[in-house]
């Protein structure tokens, strides 16, 4: 797969920051979803908001106190007045929307789109805004600016808003240090710590550059719209922290065993230390060390005795674990931009308090079908690829109180039963995140005096 091509220079002043850069830490922010009822007003809003959209170049030294990312659904592009020919050139899965793909994604039971929060699963989701900042004051300032781009336009409605903020120590609601791995994009201008090999071709995450097949995306049309753009699968989920704690308490005979079982399900200890490097006891120093906590291979764990085959991180990012099977893992990478929302559940509470908490993932990739959809359908909601029958991911799979989780062990494997659903999908959608020039084109393409060459 290694082409001896020169590494392409990424146009980081044109690529939106969310695609290439992690969100700030600590972070506070909001997601806002808009519906466009009048095309010209939609384009006017876009004209006004473009100066606030962060690029990958500005990320480290932003000239504004907060960062905005903007993306459009198929319905949103249609509402902006994009031509039918251009709309038809988008891939089928994007045109259908995430809800219509439920049978492929195995979004069933409580995850089914009929159970999603409004507006997800409806055709009212047009524009998604991601607004990040480091503190409340900056956030409020940028939210005010963002509001001003559409508050005087009656044809634009806010159909959804949610706040989010980092939990203490960057942990997720289950108490795990999160966001420790993302694919390293060739040419992204950052040198990653060890363990992020192999570098992935830019075209897997940004259109306009060669991908892992040596091809450069030829859709959507026109070229000015797709260049430096990408797709984002937005997915909001509720995390049942009390249920997770209670399950561990019921399965274990000591607090140490609870921690071990939790680590076996995730593939890392709560500190972030990977099981492959710390198979029996947590190693918080290792968990904290970015030069070591992601530097591991499954080659010395091909029997799953350290990290179970079914563990979450081994499923969603198999690395070299599948080397004996006919699967090109380099075609199935996802860039994950995650945030958490809701307050932490106080330690020791095993009863649900009814408070909304969980995460929102932006799963970035140029090929929705062979990236997000493949991982979800083949590696998360099924076990055949790891010879575990119909066993699903213990953390995010469809377990309805009948789930099983296999922990390879000598002399006899341990199998946990009765896994409930720990994570519930509350909504999601497929969005297209254009480059800056494409955004300007989208705002102007209808104008009679518009000439895209003057951009």
């Amino acid at each position: 797969m290694q082409n001896n091509q020169a590494v392409p220079t990424l146009d980081i002043s044109d690529i939106q920051a969310t695609v290439l850069r992690p969100r700030p830490s600590p972070y506070k922010g909001e997601y806002v979803v808009l519906r466009i009822d009048e095309a010209a007003q939609g384009r006017e809003m876009l004209r006004r908001i473009i100066p606030y959209v962060a690029t990958a170049e500005e990320w480290w030294v932003p000239s504004i106190p907060a960062w905005i990312g903007i993306a459009f659904t198929y319905q949103g592009l249609k509402a902006l007045g994009l031509s039918q020919a251009s709309l038809d050139s988008f891939p089928e899965e994007f045109r259908q929307g995430m809800a219509a793909r439920a049978s492929i994604l195995n979004d069933i039971g409580e995850n089914a789109p009929t159970n999603w929060e409004y507006p997800f699963g409806t055709s009212d989701v047009h524009v998604a805004l991601a607004i990040y900042s480091k503190d409340d004051k900056s956030l409020e300032a940028v939210l005010k600016q963002a509001r001003q781009t559409h508050s005087d336009l009656p044809g634009i409605s806010v159909v959804y808003r949610m706040k989010f903020s980092e939990l203490p120590e960057g942990r997720n609601p289950f108490g795990f240090k999160d966001g420790l791995h993302n694919p390293h994009v060739e040419g992204s201008g950052v040198n990653p710590p060890p363990g992020y090999a192999p570098t992935v071709k830019a075209g897997e995450f940004i259109m306009g550059y060669p991908d892992e097949n040596g091809q450069t995306a030829t859709s959507p049309e026109p070229e000015v719209l797709r260049r430096n753009g990408t797709f984002v699968a937005f997915r909001k989920f509720h995390m049942r922290v009390a249920a997770f704690r209670k399950y561990l308490r019921d399965q274990a005979s000591s607090p140490e065993e609870e921690e071990l079982i939790a680590a076996k399900m995730v593939g890392r200890w709560r500190s972030g230390a990977p099981l492959v490097l710390a198979p029996e006891h947590d190693d918080p120093k290792l968990g904290k060390d970015p030069n070591r906590n992601n530097d591991f291979s499954y080659l010395d764990d091909m029997n799953g005795l350290k990290c179970p085959f079914s563990a979450h991180i081994r499923r969603v990012n198999p690395r070299d674990a599948l080397k004996d099977d006919l699967v090109a893992v380099n075609l199935h990478h996802i860039m994950r931009r995650g945030i958490n929302y809701g307050p932490p559940l106080p330690e020791g509470i095993l009863k649900d308090d009814g408070v909304q908490r969980g995460g929102v993932f932006l799963l970035v990739g140029a090929y929705i079908k062979r990236q997000f959809e493949f991982v979800q359908s083949q590696w998360v909601t099924d076990g055949n690829f790891i010879r575990q029958g119909t066993e699903q991911d213990p953390i995010i799979g469809n377990n309805e109180g009948d789930g099983i989780f296999t922990i390879p062990k000598r002399p006899v494997r341990r199998r946990l039963h009765g896994l409930p659903r720990f994570v519930v999908v509350r909504g999601g959608e497929y969005c297209f995140m254009p480059g800056l020039r494409a955004l300007k084109w989208l705002a102007r393409f209808h104008d009679k005096d518009y000439n895209s060459k003057t951009l």
Partner: protein
Amino acid sequence: MANINAYNSRILCIYMSNSNVAQGKVRPGLKAGRSNEFTLINKLKPGGAERLRKKLASDSKFGSHNQVFADQIGTLHDLRFVIFDNDTRLLFATTFDGDWDAYIDDFAALVPDLIDLVFEEVEDYPGIKSPDIKDFIVKSQVTSTYFYSAYPDASVRDIRKAMKVKSGLDVLLDAASS
């Protein structure tokens, strides 16, 4: 009694999978449990039948590689190439676990030559790496009218594992009774 219930539930399983097509769902091919049937029928190029027989002979490259190839894919229960209609047409039939299009990018990336080797004898075949390959497959696919599987809920990997376990158990029982 138990046997009749098992028999009835399997019939129900097949009935339900046939109704996928009856309801006019877009995906061609029938399912039985976790198994999918996949049948392609194509016209062979002039001389294609003869060339194909040589290519698929047991001493050929394909013939000697196919077990490894199929084992690494791990989801094919069986597959067959049938040349018929006086050497003018080719039928390719297989039963496999999961969706045919999920792994097609992987096959195109890792074993393009093996697939092209056979299908290049077929009229209008664009090549496994062509962006038109999925359209070609859908056009060539003929959905079965009826599909039965002897173990609809077992994948190839499940079955192989079960056979390994049975072997091990036999050894254990023999040792215990000696």
